[in-house]
Symmetry: D2
Subunit: 307 residues, 4 copies
Amino acid sequence: MTPAVGKKATGLIAATFTPLTPEGEINLAEIGPYVDYLLEQQGVKSIFVNGTTGEGMSLTVEERKMLAAEWCSKAKNKLENVIVHVGCMSLKDSQELAQHAGEIGADGIAVISPSFFKPATVGALKMFLQEVAAVVPAVPFYYYHIPAMTGVHLRSRDVLEGIDAEIPSFRGLKFSGSDLMDFGQCVSYSPSHWSLLYGMDEQLLGALAMGANGAVGSTYNYLGSSVNRLISAFNKGDLTMARTLQFQVQDILCYAMDCGFDLAVNKQLMSEVSGLVLGPPRLPLLPCPQSKAVSIARKLKQVLGVQ
Amino acid sequence: MTPAVGKKATGLIAATFTPLTPEGEINLAEIGPYVDYLLEQQGVKSIFVNGTTGEGMSLTVEERKMLAAEWCSKAKNKLENVIVHVGCMSLKDSQELAQHAGEIGADGIAVISPSFFKPATVGALKMFLQEVAAVVPAVPFYYYHIPAMTGVHLRSRDVLEGIDAEIPSFRGLKFSGSDLMDFGQCVSYSPSHWSLLYGMDEQLLGALAMGANGAVGSTYNYLGSSVNRLISAFNKGDLTMARTLQFQVQDILCYAMDCGFDLAVNKQLMSEVSGLVLGPPRLPLLPCPQSKAVSIARKLKQVLGVQ
Amino acid sequence: MTPAVGKKATGLIAATFTPLTPEGEINLAEIGPYVDYLLEQQGVKSIFVNGTTGEGMSLTVEERKMLAAEWCSKAKNKLENVIVHVGCMSLKDSQELAQHAGEIGADGIAVISPSFFKPATVGALKMFLQEVAAVVPAVPFYYYHIPAMTGVHLRSRDVLEGIDAEIPSFRGLKFSGSDLMDFGQCVSYSPSHWSLLYGMDEQLLGALAMGANGAVGSTYNYLGSSVNRLISAFNKGDLTMARTLQFQVQDILCYAMDCGFDLAVNKQLMSEVSGLVLGPPRLPLLPCPQSKAVSIARKLKQVLGVQ
Amino acid sequence: MTPAVGKKATGLIAATFTPLTPEGEINLAEIGPYVDYLLEQQGVKSIFVNGTTGEGMSLTVEERKMLAAEWCSKAKNKLENVIVHVGCMSLKDSQELAQHAGEIGADGIAVISPSFFKPATVGALKMFLQEVAAVVPAVPFYYYHIPAMTGVHLRSRDVLEGIDAEIPSFRGLKFSGSDLMDFGQCVSYSPSHWSLLYGMDEQLLGALAMGANGAVGSTYNYLGSSVNRLISAFNKGDLTMARTLQFQVQDILCYAMDCGFDLAVNKQLMSEVSGLVLGPPRLPLLPCPQSKAVSIARKLKQVLGVQ
């Protein structure tokens, strides 16, 4: 069984936050409205769930299954692509999540490198990825590269070498790093049915120049509309406009960083901007003081010129 | 209910490897002989299970429970202390393991800092630890500090500040770092019922001088007998002998490092030295070529003067 | 006295190697031919001397003066811009070199952050820069940001804040980092008479998209002709061609890196490609085996399709 | 000509600060009183000049010569050992300083690894050291290992391998790192005429247990008297007393670190405690607010129980 060839992940893909109740339990009820918000308010048609932004590593296997199922269910007939991140520290847990993602009809699975024990070589990493992918050979597979979080600095280009043969379901890469030589080499090596997705929202324009097919990021939850315009401008050859829009994103993120931007702040910011009730993060992340998120949201509106 | 006060963890504590079958499944049958080996061949009376050496992070929650239960069962009436490591990336998983450790009669639980999402402050880390400890208030609690693995460089001394009130079951620290100022400050601050356990086997002597109460490490699986003599010499004031024994340990480890020492090699080395059949590591660790372990085992015997 | 406003550094700027005799002494005789080679064979009209590529930090103050004088002399009426790097660990040495650069008619001076003692704050770094610039207020001043070499990770954008008032001769930035958000923010902030020069040759295209005015790098010594075409293609809106040329540069550099690419190899490679006799590097760099440089030169010719 | 064999560097060696005038120029007049203070108030009989504490890298070659000459002159017939640090980024500068140190009768020279360009291998580092040592073959030579400052993490034990043959004047090591396995292996390998000097004052006790012959550090400028008692206690086998004294040093340094301890603060602290007028640091270090040094000095007196 071969994965459908035609459905290539492109454009903006929101890395979704995980809605929690004030008590810190999974809040499935917020997921339906979340999907509608992305589609209607941000023009975002694809999502990447249970990843870094979704606090996947802080969730239990059961919680991740519940979430993945609900995202797939609510996205059905609305969104184009639901990629479920199934990476864990434990290979067995990853395999269980991959199996489940296949059962619930996910459009793809993604796997990050384990980071407590780090693969010593590209070969070790690829064996890990292969063991997960093999569980669901018909589900499109994406490798998720994010060295600043994992401490795994193996070149993605080396991971891609010959991966077609090892993981026939391989369909692409979420590249969340600033090394555009490695990214460019991945673009240069990729056949046309792969998606090379860039994951550092603050410098997407550089990756588009290098040939990115799309982007996965947390800020597309609330800046999707703006970044969709950036991509359009870039595709039309209007680099001046694309740059202006990229600088706006940077202005907002620099302001946020100066305020102490982390995932907890990011999540609270999304609540502020969207009106969705996403709740607190889970420990070891500490809740963000609301005033901080309000202040960043105000900056965002000011920079974008919206009220 | 207060934890028993009298049973203070001291001396050598072996951080146990996890026996796997050739197919990579948990091999409970090897645990009984393992306990006997430590006691009879190495004079080691305490163990730390499912930690870094035990590949805890690569195991599922269910596997960790099975292992913890078997270690407690086989150690009963034989060993003095079984400390079960219950740290996970997910607080909920850690709580579930803590609950289980209490039910099976573990002598203590230990928790490492989560390392995918890293606590930004000492306060965040302590809230995480507290939430785990609170599940089993009668079980002695140990904090496990190992910055080279976690990337969490918060000072242990700051973690200890006022922890008695926050975690009444707090009983000590496994300190696997080279910062002996931080370690010394922990010793200096600790009441007599805490155990300050040092975790870098290659420089234990420095930590003993600084006031360590004991040591937790992987090499005590196969060098316990030798390091027991090191501790005796130190306690008798015979620094020359203690130093000679410490240098032997270093000679062996340097040789191993030059061969490419990692947890997989370490595990295979234990199989070679002990005759136990511990099996391969789990991905992302790659199995060690047997010849490498044989070569290190030969060096070990040569340095220790055993045949 | 104000620096001439009209002469803005743009396009490619070769970071020159320092020619040494086989005995390791400065070889001034090679500098004239070097200038001609850059101009005639590579179409490169500006140079950055005594910087990282030029092993500036391994030279004495007197050697740096001799070199700077010779480069300025030989470049006269031939090249557009000679920027002399005058950064040192010692402020006094930097000031002496700045004074000298002014005397010999350098078109600009550049200063790197000191890196043994690292400035703790942006303010400390700016005071250092200011003390150097003040010695020659009429000479255009560039700040040289290269965190991977210096370990100084202060944001360039923060360094630029208000720098016009503090250093009236400030004219731009050599940004040798992969953080395109910081670079983009510098572009966004810069008045039109500043030059924002990018310094990671392997991902120049990303920086051009972000608005770079030019590029400073070691590979422009031997890939200048090719990268000039890249810039032309980019300026004409032909991103496909620009990308193809960028990927060629990456192919060559990846091959070199897999061979063990460092400054010594880079220098020997330039000798191979150009026919100039640049000699060995100075300790602590070790000479590159010639076979390695030959092999990389062959790859370069193959990728570029030249014989 | 062979270096005198009998004069082995042992005990405490103060890494001296460099006295500057308020305008930032060398203040030679303070050096005589400085020598007397160390000898009379702290019982410190050896010094290490122009090193990290002395801001050697921020000084010009001429300034370093002036300072070295004055220290040697004022120490004559008073101190036991004056070791002049001659390490620079430039090999030629180091050689010039080594030559000068020999001429002024220094008891030894020390060389740090260059750190802008870092030696890629132990062999490259040793060639650099050898080229400096060869200039003054009769002057005892010390290698200065301080990876946190240089970023050079090559094992000292590997540097020592066979160094007797390569540098006949080799006499020892200033080891400013926390890796006591590497340090222990150096001790274990060293012939009796080498001095293994430890450089992290806050954990000296651990290094004494491992076999250190002495210690070089900045805090011995003002804590020498106290640490001399620590060493005496250790030598008499009174570990309890040694530990108490080590904990005092740690208490003071932890307090200082919480205040933001850097070399500038350290220098101002010495002025406060000693009454010497050492002046400001040089850029890129910023002067320490006096109130901060006063506060740390007060803590110091409180911990040591002096008024």
